[in-house]
């Protein structure tokens, strides 16, 4: 039981990270209908920026952890958002209204570029970081098994819940969110009603990138080690999560992220670590066979 609980906690933590990245995929897909293949790499850039900013803070003597983390969070979000904005500007905006596959290839090119750019700029070796906030709570030491909840895990889950709530409010209640949904459903009409479509799309990328940087920071804190290649693996998982939940749906992305995190964790715990990705992908395929639009996606009604 404790083992199960421990895995549950680990799974939820991992799922939160996936969910935050998945939101970026889902938002961009929702608004311009493209798979932003470079999003995983934006997440990786976010993780690197978080590491760099943190080290810079340490270098100038800001070592009070909560303050340092808050600054890292804000600065990394801003800088990663700038990356997200630039990627959209260079690789996607010129292709707006073009064929579906052109932005996809462009995105794959951008992904290759970002990966190798970071590799060249920061080196190919893994970047470890000693635990920033060690320790945590422990429960149930009765029969020898202890359930650990680290501070970092609590932070990750807490931050994810807060961000998700904020986001849902933003999209459903504000006029920016309404403009976003309008662009999603009919870009041309949105422009006819005075919505600056380019700006709205840019903002979507900025928001997605900012969330990815939060996930990057969490990844850094949770695993304590990053490299230039983490973007691909996490990106594919998060994309899977977004599709599993129903691409285009924000709660779906979060749900999908949680599920992928849980499947991976439990499969590794009870069956085999090697095949955890196979388990995640297989469940995706099975779900899609029965629910072709994912768990919370809107079923595609064929207009005849």
């Amino acid at each position: 039981m404790e083992y199960f609980l421990q895995q549950l906690i680990n799974g939820v933590t991992l799922g939160s990270i996936y969910g935050l990245i998945a939101i970026g995929y889902t938002m961009v897909y929702g608004i311009i209908g493209m798979i932003n293949f470079a999003h995983g790499d934006v997440f990786m850039v976010g993780a690197f920026l978080a590491l760099i900013v943190y080290l810079a803070l340490v270098a100038i003597g800001i070592t009070f952890v909560p303050l340092a983390l808050l600054i890292v969070l804000l600065v990394a979000m801003a800088l990663t958002a700038l990356y997200g904005w630039t990627v959209e500007r260079i690789a996607y905006r010129p292709l707006r209204g073009s064929f579906r596959l052109a932005p996809l290839i462009s995105a794959i090119g951008m992904s290759i570029f970002l990966q190798n750019f970071v590799q060249q700029a920061q080196g190919a070796r893994v970047k470890p970081l000693q635990p920033v906030a060690p320790g945590g709570f422990q429960f149930g030491a009765a029969d020898g098994f202890v359930v650990n909840v680290s501070y970092v895990q609590l932070m990750i889950v807490g931050a994810t819940i807060a961000i998700m709530t904020g986001f849902t409010l933003l999209v459903t209640k504000t006029s920016l969110g309404r403009a976003q949904r309008a662009c999603e459903q009919d870009r041309k009409m949105a422009a006819l009603l005075g919505v600056d479509v380019d700006r709205t799309i840019s903002l979507t990328f900025v928001m997605g990138a900012a969330l990815a940087s939060v996930a990057g920071l969490m990844y850094l804190l949770y695993y304590g080690v990053i490299d230039f290649y983490i973007g691909f693996v996490a990106g594919v998982k998060a994309f899977t999560a977004a599709v599993l939940g129903g691409i285009g749906s924000l709660p779906g992305a979060m749900l999908g992220g949680l599920l992928i995190g849980l499947i991976e964790t439990f499969w590794s715990a009870y069956f085999s670590v090697e095949y955890k990705d196979v388990a995640a992908f297989s469940i995706l395929a099975i779900v899609l066979i029965f629910l072709p639009s994912g768990l919370l996606g809107r079923p595609e009604v064929e207009k005849v």
Binding site: I52, L55, L104, G123, T240, E274
Partner: protein, 437 residues
């Protein structure tokens, strides 16, 4: 009537250009400052930062100068729109010349290895390029003709390679028996994987094919006793000239035909083998396009619902495209295995699928000629920059973005009709759909 000046005619174009370049430089500063300027390095006391301000300066200056130059030339106000677009006339000429360039290119491919100045390196490169041409043509059936987005194509390439390796090693079957078997096995996997997922649409299909590609790779990586895991399979039998080995022995190729032994014989054989395989792929595809199945693929890409209303079984039609595409990948895979003599899961990563897809899209979906050109440009260009290995991948990624921005529909975007009454007219790419499957 006193209408105010439109914003496009701002006071001075030069000032505007400098201002714009300045903003770009500022953004570049924001991007470069942390990533290029502060390098994370492992020290004895843990992680630390090493400043590299010179790199930041170079990046910012480069962006400013480049942007300014572009603003004053290509992006001058008023020129902006037509600067990069290819006029329809040029496009039509390109499409027409493609008809003659195709046979010429094939001719060149046939005589290239025999030319006196051709070095072994060129033949090796030729083999590599032709492998990708073949893979591109195979995927073109799925993506270009049937409009199904497949992000896991490399899985079938892997199936072909492992089929050959395992069949040849465990049962001692010759290449010529294994080749069709590998193709059939790959096609079988294509159907097996395709059957449940082909009713998915668009990007759902894309992620599932990507997932299948990854699943196959992970299985190959972890199924030690069968596939050798990460160590792969080595000592795969080399190809024979219909049973005659390319070795120094008395029964070898050189001795049998009374030639003096040269390692080049095998390379030449491999070259012509892949050339023949690629040309067969091409020939079959061209033929298929003119058969009802090929027309049904293209119709499916244009409008699936209309297809259903005309009595076309869309599931079977999609499956055939999937299976045939997989089969050619299987052929290419077994060629790859026999050429390398060694295979491991590392050759079948997602990047390979992405690369093949990029070749198809950059070439112009559905265009056999375009795909071949794209393969030559991408693979050949990539290999030529081998010396600059540090910056090769960065450039590669950037070039992919730039080509797409320049020609979103690929190099040859027009479609050639499969049948005509009076006159065969190329169809503008703007009218051709790319499918939602």
């Amino acid at each position: 009537m006193a209408a105010p000046a439109s914003p496009a005619a701002a006071p001075s174009p030069l000032i505007a250009a400098v201002k714009d370049a300045g903003i770009a430089a500022l953004i570049a500063l924001g991007l470069a400052l942390p990533m290029l300027g502060l390098v994370t390095t492992q020290t004895q006391a843990g992680m630390g930062l090493v400043p590299h301000w010179d790199r930041v300066a170079i990046a910012v200056v480069a962006v400013f100068a480049g942007r300014l130059l572009l603003n004053l030339t290509l992006w001058r106000p008023g020129r902006r729109k037509s600067a990069l677009a290819v006029p329809p006339k040029v496009e039509a000429t390109l499409a027409r010349t493609a008809k003659y360039l195709g046979p010429l290119a094939i001719l060149f491919a046939i005589v290239m290895p025999l030319l006196p100045f051709t070095e072994r390196y060129a033949i090796d490169l030729g083999i590599l390029v032709l492998t990708y041409v073949m893979l591109g043509w195979g995927l073109n059936i799925v993506v270009g003709l049937a409009g199904l987005l497949d992000l896991g194509y490399v899985a079938f390439y892997a199936v072909g390679a492992y089929s050959y390796a395992l069949l040849a090693q465990n049962f001692g079957l010759s290449f010529w028996i294994c080749l069709p078997l590998a193709g059939i096995l790959a096609a079988f996997w294509g159907v097996l994987l395709g059957f449940p997922v082909l009713r998915l649409r668009g990007d759902y299909l894309a992620i599932v094919t990507l997932a299948f590609g990854e699943i196959i790779r992970i299985v190959l990586l972890n199924w030690y006793w069968f596939t050798g895991g990460p160590n792969g399979i080595s000592g795969i039998p080399r190809p024979t000239f219909f049973g005659i080995d390319f070795d120094r022995g008395p029964d070898g190729f050189a001795a049998t035909f009374g030639l003096s032994y040269s390692p080049l014989h095998r390379i030449l054989f491999l070259y012509y083998l892949i050339l023949a395989l690629a040309l067969i792929t091409n020939l079959v595809t061209i033929r298929l396009r003119r058969l009802p199945i090929g027309r049904a693929w293209e119709a499916l890409r244009e409008d699936e619902i209309a297809c259903r209303s005309l009595g076309i079984n869309t599931v079977n039609t999609k499956l055939t495209a999937f299976a045939l595409g997989a089969m050619f990948a299987g052929f290419a895979g077994s060629f790859f295995a026999t050429r390398q003599g060694f295979i491991s899961p590392e050759s079948f990563v997602f990047m390979e699928s992405a690369l093949i897809l990029a070749i198809v899209v950059l070439g112009g979906m559905g265009s056999q000629f375009g795909v071949a050109v794209a393969a030559v440009v991408m693979i050949g260009g990539f290999e030529l920059f081998r010396e600059f290995s540090d910056y090769r991948m960065i450039t590669f990624g950037l070039v992919m973005v730039l080509i797409m921005v320049w020609r979103p529909r690929g190099l040859v975007s027009s479609r050639s009709p499969t049948v005509f009454l009076k006159e065969k007219k190329a169809i503008s790419g703007a009218l051709v759909q790319e499918g939602h499957g």
